[in-house]
């Protein structure tokens, strides 16, 4: 893990690495059939930071997240957690890694047949030998952290979108993980609930020192929570570095994305003029 943190398509002046890399993606490329989703993505996530993966829809953010958390191996390249190549390390190492990490899915992915409390308690029940009373209390505590204690006995089908997301976060932190991955935590939420979720992510990061990897295309949310940001465009790293550095990057495509400008090379417009009689 002593490789210098030279990352991404652009030099970002990060000559000296002061913190410890927890996750590294090395030349990660992925294709689905003929479609190249990720192309040579290199990045390092440091222990204890909030790392935000940004980019427009379809740029490969979620695919990258699935590689980083070990759900899906990339077509080429490798992912290292604590210096271990997770897709080459075997099932036991993968399981150890999974017990150290949590993932909050975009749609929540709560098990429909279990109550909210049972969903949060599930990883504890299946992976530990703790007494049931401790498990229940821990699960209730996590639910209270996300403000869902009142919904503990409800089934996921009766929760709103925001509640599902918060329940998924509670489940992701049930095992006190070192790292939590979030897939679009604020997508589809109203601004207030989105801000609450952002706040929760920051608090969990500050209080427990959990490393947070957040995939989002929500700009205000990204700005509010990020320590460092990577911007993916067309499956490649377009910018990577501390939040403010990326936010003020000079690259036109980054500017277009951050300032929410419609790309200037888009052909939509007045090309009907070519068919008009002058």
């Amino acid at each position: 893990m002593n490789a210098p943190a030279t990352v991404g398509g652009r030099a970002h002046g990060q000559a000296r690495r002061t913190t410890y890399d927890l996750v590294r993606a090395l030349a990660v490329s992925t294709a689905f059939g003929d479609r190249q989703v990720l192309q040579g993505v290199d990045l390092a996530i440091r222990r204890g930071e909030v790392f935000v993966v940004m980019g427009p829809s379809g740029c490969g953010k979620t695919t990258l997240l699935r590689h980083l958390c070990g759900l899906q191996p990339p077509t080429l390249g490798a992912v290292f957690v604590d210096g271990i190549d997770i897709f080459a390390a075997g099932a036991a190492a993968m399981k150890r890694l999974r017990l150290r990490s949590g993932l909050s899915f975009q749609g929540g992915a709560l098990l429909g047949s279990l109550s909210v409390l049972d969903n949060v308690a599930l990883p504890l029940r299946e992976n530990t030998t703790l007494p049931e009373r401790v498990i229940r209390e821990t699960a209730r505590m996590k639910l209270d952290m996300v403000g869902l204690l009142h919904a503990a006995d409800l089934l996921p089908s009766s929760l709103s979108g925001g509640m599902k997301k918060r329940a998924a976060i509670a489940r992701a932190i049930a095992m006190d993980p070192e790292i939590v991955f979030f897939d679009e935590p604020s997508a589809g939420l109203d601004p207030i609930t989105a801000a609450e979720v952002d706040n929760l992510i920051c608090k969990l990061n500050q209080v427990f020192g959990i490393t947070m990897v957040v995939v989002t295309h929500d700009l205000p949310s990204a700005y509010a929570i990020a320590d460092r940001i990577v911007v993916l465009l067309d499956g490649k790293v377009a910018a990577l570095g501390p939040r403010d550095e990326v936010w003020h990057a000079a690259d036109r495509r980054i500017r277009d994305f951050i300032e929410r400008r419609i790309p200037t090379d888009d052909a939509r417009g007045m090309d009907v003029a070519a068919h008009m009689e002058i």
């Binding site: 958390c69 999974r98 709560l110 599930l122 992976n127 489940r171 007045m270 090309d271 068919h275 008009m276």
Partner: protein, 361 residues
């Protein structure tokens, strides 16, 4: 230089666009150098109307005829500004029909994939049931009980009904043949042997395939679509151990239990027919049945039912776990699960019969 003009009326919407397209087609067929479409009089238009104009531009372009639009109002220009006319007029790439080998591959590959995933799931399930408990990993018996309730108890009414009717039918068919030789009492043998060795396990398994393989495939498929399976994996929970093993155990148990019930009820149906139509006393029928059946037949039939049940459980779950393509994919694997289950049941049955014959001869 040939030149034609089409004048559009006050409306260019879904009611009048057809006329414009007919006019455009006619003019373009006449091969002028240029067709001018005068939209100056149009007061009301919608996107269908402008869609007709774009369609005309594309088709004329393909024929090498130039179309010029005249008198576009500002609202029309505003609507056109939301799209790129050039992009819309670019002909879509023609679909290339794949060569026969590729098409054969596209047909065979999913089939091989299905079989591979069925075998893999079977192996993982066997590992979880027979090997993992030795290492202290418990089998989820609580969940298995719930699954037994779904697959066995839920199927009980239909199994009882089918078995009773089949018992009656078999007795009736046998009676018609045997009456000729005055051997009516052998109805008991025919019903007993055919139900116990073949029809009982087979029909039960087919009912299970229709009820449980489909519901397991649909349930697991929906869980794949909802990322619930990924969530389990991410939590360090093995989806096969957690979800599939209880379902397979429940199906295996259900197949054995239901086939015993099937046998008993079908024989009762046969006895009822024999008593009511052929005048055979129930006691005599029972005695005749007892002489015809052997414990070994029952044991072989139970093992057969067990394999059928496990097969139904594994196929439903294995196909459900590899759903692709959203709700449509769930529908497809549900159908495939039933079809493949029944096919494999017949295959396993044939294997059993062959083995039995080899042992006997």
């Amino acid at each position: 230089m040939k030149h034609a003009t089409i004048k559009v009326g006050t409306a260019l919407d879904r009611g009048s666009v057809g006329q414009l397209m007919l006019d455009l087609d006619r003019e373009v067929r006449a091969r002028p150098d240029r067709v001018t479409v005068d939209l100056g009089a149009v007061e009301a238009f919608d996107s269908t109307g402008l869609g007709g104009v774009v369609d005309g531009l594309r088709r004329a372009g393909e024929q090498g005829v130039e179309i010029k639009l005249r008198g576009l109002s500002q609202p029309m220009l505003d609507l056109f500004s939301l799209v790129s006319v050039q992009r819309l007029c670019t002909p879509a790439p023609a679909l290339v029909r794949p060569d026969p080998i590729t098409r054969l591959g596209a047909f065979v590959e999913p089939l091989l994939d299905s079989i591979q995933s069925v075998l893999a799931t079977a192996a993982e399930t066997a590992h979880a049931v027979f090997v993992a408990p030795l290492r202290g990993e418990r089998v989820r018996l609580d969940r298995t009980t719930i699954e037994v309730d779904h697959s066995a108890v839920g199927a009980l009414p239909i199994v009882v009904l089918i078995s009773f009717l089949l018992g009656l039918i078999l007795a009736m068919q046998a009676y018609v043949q045997l009456r000729v030789w005055g051997a009516e009492i052998y109805v008991a043998d025919m019903v007993g042997v055919s139900v116990l060795t073949e029809i009982g396990p087979l029909m039960t398994a087919i009912v299970l395939a229709a009820r449980s393989a489909s519901s397991n495939a649909a349930q697991l498929g929906a869980m794949v679509v909802g990322e619930e399976i990924d969530a389990l994996r991410q939590m360090g929970i093995h989806p096969v151990r957690f979800l599939v093993v209880p379902k397979v155990l429940a199906c295996a148990f259900a197949a054995v239990a239901l086939s015993v019930i099937f046998d008993v009820v079908a024989m009762a149906g046969g006895a009822l027919f024999a008593w009511a139509v052929a005048g055979i006393e129930v006691g005599a029928y029972q005695e005749q049945t007892r002489q015809a059946l052997h414990l070994a037949d029952f044991l072989v039939a139970s093992v057969k039912a067990l394999s059928f049940g496990a097969c139904v459980g594994v196929v439903g779950c294995a196909l459900g776990m590899r759903v692709q393509g959203g709700s449509q994919g769930v529908g497809r694997v549900t159908t495939n699960a039933v079809v493949l289950s029944i096919f494999l049941i017949i295959l396993i049955d044939a294997a059993f019969v062959t083995m039995q014959r080899m042992v006997l001869s």
